[in-house]
Symmetry: C2
Subunit: 310 residues, 2 copies
Amino acid sequence: MSRRPVIVIHGGAWAIPDKLATGSIDGVKAAATTGYRVLQDGGTAVDAVEAAIVVLENHPAFDAGYGSVLNANGEVEMDAVLMTGHNLQCGGVACVQNIKNPIKLARAVMDKTDHTLLVGLGSNQFAEEIGMEKVSTDDLVTEDAKAEWKEFMKFKTTVNVLFRNRDVKLSGCDTVGAVALDNAGNVAFGTSTGGITAKRPGRVGDRSGGYADNTSGAVSTTGHGESIVKVCLARQITFNMEQGLSAQEATEKALQSMANRVQGSGGAVTVSKDGDIGKHFTTERMAWSWIKDGQLHYGLNPGEDFSQAV
Amino acid sequence: MSRRPVIVIHGGAWAIPDKLATGSIDGVKAAATTGYRVLQDGGTAVDAVEAAIVVLENHPAFDAGYGSVLNANGEVEMDAVLMTGHNLQCGGVACVQNIKNPIKLARAVMDKTDHTLLVGLGSNQFAEEIGMEKVSTDDLVTEDAKAEWKEFMKFKTTVNVLFRNRDVKLSGCDTVGAVALDNAGNVAFGTSTGGITAKRPGRVGDRSGGYADNTSGAVSTTGHGESIVKVCLARQITFNMEQGLSAQEATEKALQSMANRVQGSGGAVTVSKDGDIGKHFTTERMAWSWIKDGQLHYGLNPGEDFSQAV
């Protein structure tokens, strides 16, 4: 029995409020279904990851693309990155404005430049060069995002408040991400986010967002970006797999280590080179889904694992 | 005999032309001496790293701070990052313009914000907020940098040309960096660069620049940033030390692996938590220096190791 193809999705690890629960689950299920279809049709892992993330970026429940949160200046700045595991090619954009799908621009950075990361005005200059449509900030912002921006501007250090104070249950930090294993045995990851409400302009949280290497597997991370970068969370998970841990053990161990070392909470989804799946979160909730062998699994709260045929 | 304190400096790994050889060696020696003095006076590892990098940024031979290269738009965009190994705190700026010492702004991001990376206009907005002096682009640009920009604009893909074609001997890619071990046993790293001549605006090469963790040691990387990020070079070197390799073995093995896997060349300096030193480069030259036990060592070409008392 083939263990390929596989796709795993997350919609962000944080204290997701009840009002977003149904939308988040619907979104990650739709993204998994779209990505899986690409893989079934013979598409590459990175094609599937990109297609899945476009679904999540276009969904208002998630803080990525449409639905992104506002920074301290009241603007939308988005980050996205993807990577393919057979040759370690990667592409990313950070603090890009006024485009609908940052993951598509990240893909173009990988495919059309010899750089791996373009930030700020330079990323928008590149978007113009390749003829990517410009959208207005209003086209990216939901009424919820506007309301939360007003609420968050009361705090001085939103990043720490958001992840450490469980009484503060607002949206505004749900990075989305996907990992995939295709029929040819290649892995890929992609991650996209609007960041954290009322963040400083120019802030980049997790500057890697994940890792993908055919010799171990692929990981997409979410949560407190500043903690994730300190411990190189995604690379740690792939190192753990290289040391013989399963995808699930590798993911749990690295997230626990991050909690112990820098008191940071977050989540990750992982697929090993053999198609084994890992998913774990140390936050209150994480919307996740995966499809393998024609079965769709999904959940939101700790311990949940619902399934249905695709 | 105490193995502390220790400081190790690099001035960039690439095909350094003869006209810059003496200046590069003088610069790394001066930076090591400045950093070592901070450590002898009881300063922390991150204090020493910052002081050493200010010397390198202010030195015209290096592509960092004064002497930075010009991007494709003819502007200066600089990146700098530092990290302290006892709590994994880090701070960085990318694509910042019009400040004299990016490493000082990176330090301020670490000390004064709850973020770890600010990019583009947001990093300049932060510099203004903390009252950092603004300088003109002309204050950062040497006549050499201007001449090379004109030469490089003839190429379409400068990044690959520069690192793969040994016949192209121009300056414009010498990241500077430092690692240190202080009397309290803490390690730190810092890295600063003006990037690659004629790079796209907004390009960030190596988005990590190094790694520092008291449980293993500290690393500062240099070379082809796009390759370095693909293999997480600095974290790989600290993983190699965690697996029992010496600082030198860990550094050599990771750089060789990068050459094999993504055909990328570069260099790194490393200090282990016990004060052992690693330095290696797969490029033609790398200016380096270190001080330990009152002895200054330095070199530029493969196999060189000159020494003198401090």
